[in-house]
Amino acid sequence: MARGIKDKVAILGMGCSKFGERWDSGPEELMVEAYLEAMQDAGIEPTQLDAAWFSTHIDEIGTGKGGTPLSVALRLPNIAVTRVENFCASGSEALRGAVYAVASGAADIALALGVEKLKDTGYGGLPVSNPGTLNPQLTPNGSAPGNFAQLASAYRA
């Protein structure tokens, strides 16, 4: 029977990169910024990390695929990095993964880190991308605001 994670896991420390256009930084620098702050806040050393969960959504203009962008940017010790992606909820997926690892006893301390660097496309807003090979043949060439905007007309109707 499922027992959940209540009272089994604590957050030791956290860090967050500064908000802004951040023309000065790539995703690697943003990751380091948040990571160093979190590690300092927690008062732990990299060698104490047992595993890491990493999330990013639009990898094609950010970090590229896989878990390696995190381990390379942070020069992590030889630990497993799991990359997760679930649209805007990607960050909470990373946190959940890390929490589950600790709750299960597989890790004593796990790192959860999410990053997105969207300002390297040359234009504002979310970047355009091709969602597979069938969807572009069927679905409108819409935008996130355009899709969310439909809630208003559907509600009114």
């Binding site: 496309t121 040359g122 234009y123 807003g125 355009v128 091709n130 090979t133 069938l134 572009p136 043949q137 069927l138 679905t139 409108p140 060439n141 819409g142 935008s143 605001p145 355009g146 899709n147 905007a149 439909q150 809630l151 007309s153 559907a154 009114r156 109707a157």
Partner: protein, 497 residues
């Protein structure tokens, strides 16, 4: 004669809604082409950015076929056009897929001459007369480009017509025909070239039309035994004013029978125009009337038809008459130039997106993409788009119970929508929304042929086959279905005025 047992079973027509006002063209170009200012009268049809000869042919064919899902009676398809979207990919095969015709049909592209439409029709007649086919569908469409400030830009129009040829339930009997094949080059378009190159008009009129057409007409009359004075409708595309009347008279045909070349309301639709004018004539014809169809170009085709009592059964067709009534005036010449690719315009970086089409994906989803065929669960009756192995039915997601279910000819309404200026569109704002179908099923899809402020929830829409995306890098066009407003009420109101 054996030929008398074959003929036309039905017709359909399509002229794009947008009608570019010619004075918008001549006004913009008066500084460089003052000689054309006098031609700035009337309007020409103008396909929207997502229309081409193929999409227009599909619309004309759908007008002909109606909403009956069973199209297995069609066993041949001919497509006549000089603006085929593909040089090597069977264009009529794309039409066939969009119409969900059987794979067993014989589909043929006819091109390379203004007579492509009449040649397609003749081939269909021959195929049926010879017994090779039972019922052949003929489509003709053209979407020609012309240089800015040219005469052609004013004279051309976009449009399509469809006819079906068979042996029973005929609306018009095929009496006979005659063809002359003569390499008279009044104009040409080299392979891969965008524009026509034409010779002097006087020579075309005097040495071309005036000598070649009467020879073909005389031969056709002799061959069929039809008397010139029996012709009730003389149908001939021609941009020379009063020349058809003169040619008819030369052949003993009453010049008053010459039908409207539709120049002032549509423009000449190229290889489609003979069939466009034929459909128009059929919509105005009474039973028992003889129609002579003439098309000049690399020789001349002459076809003679005689309407039957069943012509009256076609009154529900939109045809060319209905298409012409369903119009929207366009005065923006820049929009026309942009649609025709004659202006390098700033699409923005979002317009740079790669539109490569995965052909494997396209093929394994052929009826989904090309025919708008979804699925219906044989256990629950729940319909959905696209089809999937596991049914969408919330309380019974049955596995492998889906049968094909066609959406293209079903009534639908808009549930939710967006007019999006952020995403790239050839005609901003980019309209799309959730379309809900009568009988179930919903699709998030593009909404076409609308202007800003026009779309609203609850609006009735119908499905049309259109260009979805251009892949300029590889020369590919992606087609899919879009929702457009049902304009029946508008057309009826205009007709009533």
């Amino acid at each position: 004669m054996a030929e008398n047992t074959i003929g036309l079973k039905a017709f359909g027509g399509y002229i794009p809604r947008l009608r570019l006002q010619r004075k918008s063209i001549t006004g913009a170009n008066a500084w460089i082409a003052p000689n054309l200012v006098g031609k700035g009268k009337g309007e020409r049809s103008m396909g929207n950015w997502d229309e081409d000869s193929l999409t227009m042919a599909v619309e004309a064919a759908r007008d002909l076929l109606g909403t009956d899902e069973d199209r297995s009676h069609i066993d041949a398809l001919y497509f006549g056009s000089t603006t085929l979207p593909f040089s090597d990919r069977l264009n009529s095969g794309i039409i066939s897929a969009a119409l969900t015709l059987d794979h067993g049909i014989q589909a043929v592209d006819v091109s390379s001459t203004q007579r492509a439409g009449t040649i397609a029709l003749l081939q269909a007649c021959n195929g049926v007369a010879g017994g090779a086919n039972k019922e052949a569908l003929v489509c003709a469409a053209d979407h020609r480009k012309a240089r800015a400030a040219s005469v052609q830009e004013l004279e051309f129009g976009d449009g399509a017509a469809a006819l079906s040829v068979g042996t029973d339930n005929l609306i018009a009997k095929f009496i006979g025909s005659h063809t002359l094949t003569i390499d008279f080059v009044d104009h040409f378009r080299g392979s891969g070239e965008e524009f026509d190159y034409g010779w002097e008009e006087r020579w075309i009129r005097d040495e071309g039309y005036t000598k070649i057409v009467p020879e073909a007409i005389t031969a056709a009359l002799e061959k069929t035994g039809v008397s010139a004075s029996d012709i009730d409708h003389f149908v001939m595309p021609c941009t020379f004013a009063r020349l058809p009347q003169k040619l008819a008279k030369m052949c003993g045909i009453n010049p008053d029978t010459v039908t409207d070349p539709l120049g002032s309301v549509c423009g000449e639709t190229g290889a489609a125009h003979a069939l466009v004018m034929l459909v128009h004539a059929l919509q105005n014809a009474k039973p028992g009337e003889k129609i002579m169809l003439v098309h000049f170009g690399g020789g001349c085709d002459v076809l003679i038809f005689e309407t039957t009592d069943l012509i009256a059964s076609m009154s529900d067709k939109k045809g060319i008459v209905g298409s012409l009534a369903d119009r929207q005036e366009e005065t923006n010449y820049m929009k026309f130039l942009t649609f025709h690719g004659l202006v390098e315009w700033e699409r923005g970086m979002r317009g740079e997106q790669d539109k490569k089409t995965a052909l494997t994906t396209l093929y394994r989803n052929e009826d989904t993409v090309m025919g708008l065929v979804g699925g219906r669960c044989t256990e629950t009756g729940v319909v959905q788009f696209p089809r999937s192995r596991i049914s969408v039915a919330p309380n019974k997601p049955a596995v492998d119970t889906q049968e094909p279910y066609k959406f293209a000819d079903r009534n639908a309404t808009i549930l939710s929508w967006s007019a999006d200026f952020l995403s790239f569109s050839m005609n901003p704002p980019n309209h799309y929304g959730m379309i809900v179908f009568e009988g179930g099923g919903r699709i998030m899809m593009d909404i076409g042929d609308v202007t800003q402020g026009e779309v609203d929830s609850g609006m009735e829409v119908r499905m049309v086959f259109r260009i979805k995306d251009f892949d300029d890098q590889r020369g590919f066009k992606r087609y899919f279905w879009k929702a457009v407003p049902v304009r029946k009420a508008v057309a009826t109101a205009q007709a009533a005025e």
